[in-house]
């Protein structure tokens, strides 16, 4: 039975690691464009990621197998390969966006050339993952990401409209100016949900469980960490939406840069608020970059049967370590082409939702399989929620690309 401290730290880490650049941008802009009306999506998405993270963690703890091993076994080589390529493409794009975001934040803190700062970010990330243990990385980036709590403070300070917010918790269709805005609302709903349920979360969570040496006795601790940590983490995203609704919306600002989003805590708490926001974003984006690079390496190694894991030394798992290094390097090179990180993450989130069914179905099936899971297979609650969300995800996956096109790339 894990100690109380371990669980507490796990909760903090899960909380601080919840937000990354895609969620940040979509949450704030959802608040700006539709005020509190998309709050129900935050809830829906959070419950969804809880359901699937719990399942993937449980499967990893009981079977000792990470998600991609199971994908290959259950779906076969061809379908598994397709899933691998799709999942890693999305992780790579997300990594590009996070590194670009880090470069932007470094620029706001220290000034300088964006491209030089991207290289500095790359070197920092490589060093952090190479020299630190898995646990150290998770703790440091997760907990320093908690500086984003300043957005919660800012949201409260800036005077949200609680009655509107309460209404936003119920699935609704808002009053809008033009018909086109209905499509935009649907687009934001899909994108926001996807940003919370990104595939890498599930892959990383399961691999992390094995890195941490979990077995079946960890299942309850796993549940506690998820059931407390993830909803608390979603509060950060909710706070961003609140800031969008109460602060940026009246000013007609639609933040497309992390720096603009940081103006909300700056308004509430001055320079200290600004600094905390930037530090929080820095570790949130950095943590997400690391998780995506490692996920790419985990997926590849687990699919092909290589030795893998940060718990293995580089000499014992050379291909795995080269893989995550390559993920970072390719991502950084892509940042150097000058693409807008925020645009990149917007597209990658939409493509992520398209491949989400491919990711979640194997997890759901494995977690329901008595041969694999024995007494730990899905109970009635996990089964109902799992299948309900799967249907929802399929609908979102089908709607995503048409919505992207109708809304001219999510602009309206």
């Amino acid at each position: 039975m894990k100690s109380f401290l371990e669980i507490f730290l796990g909760i903090l880490t899960a909380m601080g690691g919840f937000v990354e650049i895609g969620e940040l941008v979509f949450s704030v802009n959802a608040g700006v464009k539709f005020r509190y009306n998309l709050l129900w999506i935050e809830v829906l998405g959070t419950v969804g990621i809880i359901v699937f993270s719990e399942m993937s963690g449980r499967v990893a703890a009981v079977t000792g197998q990470p998600v991609f091993s199971l994908i290959r076994q259950r779906d076969g080589y061809g379908a598994g390969l397709l899933t691998l390529i799709a999942a890693n493409a999305v992780s790579l794009l997300t990594c590009v966006a996070e590194i670009g975001g880090l470069a932007l934040l470094l620029k706001l803190l220290f000034g300088g050339n964006y491209f030089v700062l991207a290289i500095i970010a790359l070197v920092g990330l490589l060093a952090a993952v190479w020299f630190l243990s898995f646990q150290a990385i998770e703790r440091i980036f997760g907990m320093l990401g908690l500086c984003l709590l300043v957005f919660v403070g800012a949201a409260l300070y800036l005077g949200p409209s609680w009655s509107e917010a309460a209404n936003g918790l119920i699935p609704n269709i808002p009053q809008v100016e033009t018909k086109q805005d209905y499509w935009l609302y649907a687009y934001f709903a899909v994108a926001l949900m996807s940003s919370i349920m990104l595939p890498y979360e599930v892959y990383f969570y399961a691999s992390g469980a094995i890195e941490d040496g979990w077995n079946a006795s960890m299942i309850n601790a796993n549940r506690m960490i998820i059931l407390v940590g993830f909803p608390l983490g979603s509060l950060l995203a909710v706070a961003l939406m609140f800031c969008g609704a109460s602060y940026f919306n009246p000013q007609m600002v639609e933040p497309q840069l992390p720096g603009t989003a940081a103006l909300a805590p700056a308004a509430a708490f001055g320079k200290w608020g600004l600094s905390l926001a930037i530090v929080g974003m820095f570790f949130a984006f950095g943590g997400a970059a690391i998780e995506n690079a490692l996920t790419g390496a985990y997926n590849l190694a687990q699919f092909l049967g290589w030795n893998w894991g940060k718990y293995r030394t580089p000499k014992d798992a050379p291909r795995f370590h080269l893989a995550w290094i390559l993920m970072f390097v390719v991502a950084a090179v892509t940042v150097m082409t000058g693409v807008d990180p925020v645009e990149v993450v917007e597209y990658s989130i939409i493509f992520a939702v398209v491949i989400l069914p491919l990711t979640y179905l194997p997890v759901l099936l494995a977690a329901s399989d008595e041969d694999y899971m024995g007494p730990f297979k899905n109970g009635w609650l996990a089964a109902i929620l799992g299948w309900a969300y799967f249907v929802l995800i399929c609908i979102a996956a089908l709607a995503a690309i048409p919505l992207l096109i109708i809304t001219h790339g999510g602009k309206g």
Binding site: G78, W306, N307, T313, K315
Partner: protein, 117 residues
């Protein structure tokens, strides 16, 4: 090895292969069946060559072009036990499938601290 029923597709194909020291050596990418006389399974195949054989035509060609056609046959007698994974009787390097003997290992060893966790 025990005599009971073995489902080749569900219990062997695409399973993790480990050596006698439990080092990972790849996946069971394909299976060798000897068709002379009575059909017999004579071994498993590991490598991109046999794995690509399971893809549709164009994908097979592309995969071979990009990642090579390496093919390692492990005779069926070399398999020690099949449970969740396929365990082999000897060390990985005996069969030539030890990651630590390839260029990846050489490259990674050059970085400082590669021996540390």
């Amino acid at each position: 090895m025990s005599e009971h029923h073995l489902d080749m597709v569900r219990q062997v194909l695409d399973r993790q292969v480990v050596d006698v020291n439990h080092i990972y050596c790849g996946k069971v990418d394909n299976i060798v069946i000897d068709l002379e006389g009575k059909p017999r399974i004579t071994g498993i195949l590991i490598g991109n060559g046999p794995a690509s054989d399971r893809l549709p035509e164009f994908a097979r060609w592309l995969s071979r072009k990009l990642f090579g056609q390496r093919r390692t046959k492990i005779p069926w007698e070399e398999i020690l036990v099949i449970k969740d994974v396929v365990k082999l009787a000897s060390e990985a390097k005996t069969y030539g499938i030890d990651e630590r003997q390839g260029w990846a290992f050489d490259l990674v060893s050059k970085f400082p601290g590669a021996w540390k966790k």
